[in-house]
Symmetry: C2
Subunit: 467 residues, 2 copies
């Protein structure tokens, strides 16, 4: 595109036609501050490139907590602290006791002649919380199932085998979170449902429609009624290949995984606070989660939510905003494989009898903002909806019923706190979600910043008008 046709421009001016009110002027100030002087992108660069992966219990977790506290302080929090909680400590590897060398995960296909024998390394990743194959490798025949229904039909066949769940991520949902909900059960429940029929391990097709072959990890939930068996994911190209092979031959796969739990350890929620001037006892929480999976930089999941949270604090301070209510900016611990941070935050809020009027979360990636989600009473929803025209010019053109996040769920359950979420565009999220491709380079600076702008506008309105 060379130049902008005049007619086309007409459409764009809609964004500034909203009557100039005190609120619209203030929100524009927030937006200008974040888009002009924003530090979210450079903070994300530090978090991803200098610290990197930060699964609960890892050295990255400790470093990121220290960093988070420092940045909260530097960004102008009246008070910043670490809220301690015990966190699970799952590790992927894998050190040889004799040599202390790292033992890598490995998946390999080696199968006999039809028409010729095949041998192929699979690009695998053990699923989070999964057990390993022990000191030895595990070599078994693979049974292809395309769904749980098919597993039920083949339940007599899977004993002592490896079950390969090849359930496809549905491309026809426009909102990709629906595809994730649909396919995600194969990761979460798949291992135990296969173990129920005596399977020795499972291989899961990654929950993604990426054009690449990266495997995507994520937590599994073992059902205590059945044996805990090793579970790995493979990427889409490997999954298609394996499925094709299995339609014409028997396939043997050798797996070596090393996942295991170490004793629980200490982690922290990182909290920065701006003290309210009129109603300091009314608390608004906004946050993301600081932990990430261990195989990536956790740039979108949920580095983005963390640096957006810090950016709101920085921007409020930079423009001299003095909130009426107390706003807490929280980087939650251990969302990915335990939710201990979110639980701890709710427990302490309840124990201290705190009054929480809203909790908001950004945990769907640092993509261009599209809508806000809100869960509260109908009266509250009507109030929130009345702010739509104030926020729409910045990207969130809708405020939908239904909003929250894993970390703020416990607060909602403990204190009935209304919850909200930033819903960015979902098209690119599952390309990189829990995969090695979730890196800084996958995040766009302006998309990231606009997420902070939309949330800050919403928080400002809740602070000003209550709920």
């Amino acid at each position: 595109m060379r130049k902008l046709p005049f007619l086309l421009l007409f459409a764009f001016t809609v964004q500034i036609s909203f009557a100039q009110t005190e609120d619209s002027i203030f929100i524009k100030r927030i937006s200008d501050e974040i888009l002009t002087n924003g530090k979210a992108y450079e903070n994300l660069r530090h978090l991803t490139k200098k610290i990197g992966a930060r699964l609960a219990g890892s050295p990255g977790m400790v470093k990121s907590e220290q960093w988070g506290l420092k940045v909260m302080q530097e960004s102008g929090a009246h008070k910043a602290w670490m809220q301690e909680c015990m966190v699970p400590h799952w590790v992927r590897g894998g050190k040889d006791i004799a040599s202390a060398a790292y033992i890598p995960e490995r998946g390999e296909v080696k199968s006999g002649p039809y028409p010729t024998s095949v041998k192929k390394e699979l690009d695998i990743i053990a699923l989070g919380n999964s057990v390993g194959t022990g000191n030895n490798t595990l070599t078994e025949q693979v049974v292809l199932v395309n769904s749980f229904d098919e597993l039920e039909k083949k339940k007599e066949e899977v004993k002592d085998k490896i079950v390969f769940y090849n359930y496809k991520f549905n491309p026809t949902y426009i909102n990709t979170f629906l595809s994730y909900r649909d396919a995600g059960q194969y990761r979460g429940q798949g291992p135990s449902r296969a173990a129920k029929y005596g399977a020795k391990a499972v291989i899961v097709r990654s929950m993604s429609h990426a054009a690449d072959n990266h495997p995507h990890t994520g937590a599994i939930r073992y059902d205590s009624a059945y044996a805990k068996i090793p579970a790995v994911a493979i990427g889409l190209q490997d999954a298609d290949w394996l499925s094709e092979q299995l339609q014409k031959r028997n396939v043997m796969v050798t797996l070596k995984t090393n996942g295991h739990f170490l004793p629980d350890t200490i982690g922290h929620n990182i909290i920065g606070e701006l003290r309210g001037t009129e109603f300091p006892d009314e608390i608004i929480t906004v946050g993301g989660h600081l932990d990430s999976w261990d195989n990536c930089e956790g740039a979108h999941d949920d580095g983005a939510g963390c640096v957006q949270t810090i950016e709101m604090l920085r921007a409020f301070k930079a423009i001299g905003y003095k909130p009426k209510r107390t706003i807490r900016f929280v980087l939650f611990a251990n969302e990915e494989n335990g939710l201990r941070g979110g639980n701890k935050y709710a427990e302490e809020a309840k124990a201290k009898n705190e009054k929480h009027i809203l909790a908001m979360e950004s945990d769907a990636g640092g993509f261009t903002p599209r809508s806000l989600g809100f869960s509260g009473s109908d009266v509250q929803y009507e109030k929130v909806l009345s702010w739509k025209a104030l926020i729409a010019p910045y990207g969130c053109t809708e405020i939908n019923k239904g909003g929250g996040g894993a970390d703020i769920g416990p607060l909602n359950r403990a204190l009935k706190t209304p919850t909200a979420s930033l819903n960015p565009d979902s098209q690119r999220y599952f390309d990189i979600h829990h995969a090695r491709s979730d890196v800084f380079e996958a995040v766009n600076k302006r998309e990231l910043e606009l997420g902070a702008v939309n949330m800050a506008a919403f928080i400002y309105l809740v602070d000003k008008y209550g709920l």
Copy 2:
């Protein structure tokens, strides 16, 4: 993000709550076809990776035209043809007559001591349609101006110098096309406005807010009243550095550019047609432009619009749709530096007394769809607006007044044809626009496909109900 909170899902189901009508069912079929069997992404891979840059007059132009015709035929056009037009033939380089070696563009800063001398290669790119520095390099002192106002103030100083326009791309506009309109005048008019006061060349800060240093090219328009002088762009890091230097010292820059025009040559619009069954003489045009700048793959600009256009044809055929009206799928020639393709299309339509009821263009990148733009009568706009709920579930949640595209502008002017545009999210466009970073890897498969879905839905409705 680990799992989807139940409440959040509630918001996502809105997309499927629209009453199932014949139209909504049909549009879902189009969408499912494109998202499941779409070829837009693989077509784009071919166009960008096998063919690459395709500026008017270049070998890439010829190859892409042949490819376009073939793909139109393979995608099921009832008729596909090349519409000839003369196109300008601007080239960037630059061959040494004696050795036939390519002469690269070059920009270098070499300046005396303050406090120490500086020497630095600038990453430059000549602006499109610009003249070169001739057989020799051009070395002159640089005058920094941050705006045209500042140029006027410094008009006595710029004679025989190089003017450096350091006008910043405004980050505070949410729609980045507004920033482009604002800053773009420095590229388009800058050279002649500096030449008016005797400048020897201009350097322009790129129209971008990218975090990298790639220079962005684009067309300039010389004013015939003044000398044609060389004009180059530099990236943002170089621009910030140069501006900083100029605030403390005199800076000499050496430029070598080789741009020049060869005689006009033959190019083509590539047209595929589905013949209407009821009103074959009523024509709906939808397209993008096949040419790109010579320094990139033109993946977003406008490879995306081309493969979306072809995808609509493919999908209509694949689901057996027989349009009432004639639909023409057009890959326009020479949008970037001449618009000869769009002009030719309009001329021929007028000469043949054709009846064109709508022309639609996709030329704002292959990003996630956000809105449609429409320019027509108020009655027509009301009709179009009544389709909003049918299209919104696929991403274009708004239908705004004002829509068109450079290539379909001439048809509108010649025949008063209503025009429409796909308006995808604009945040990432000017990171890569006219820069070497506009490559296949910058395009997301689903975002690209959804653009085709939204346009196909609109074209279907116009075909069915007329305008």
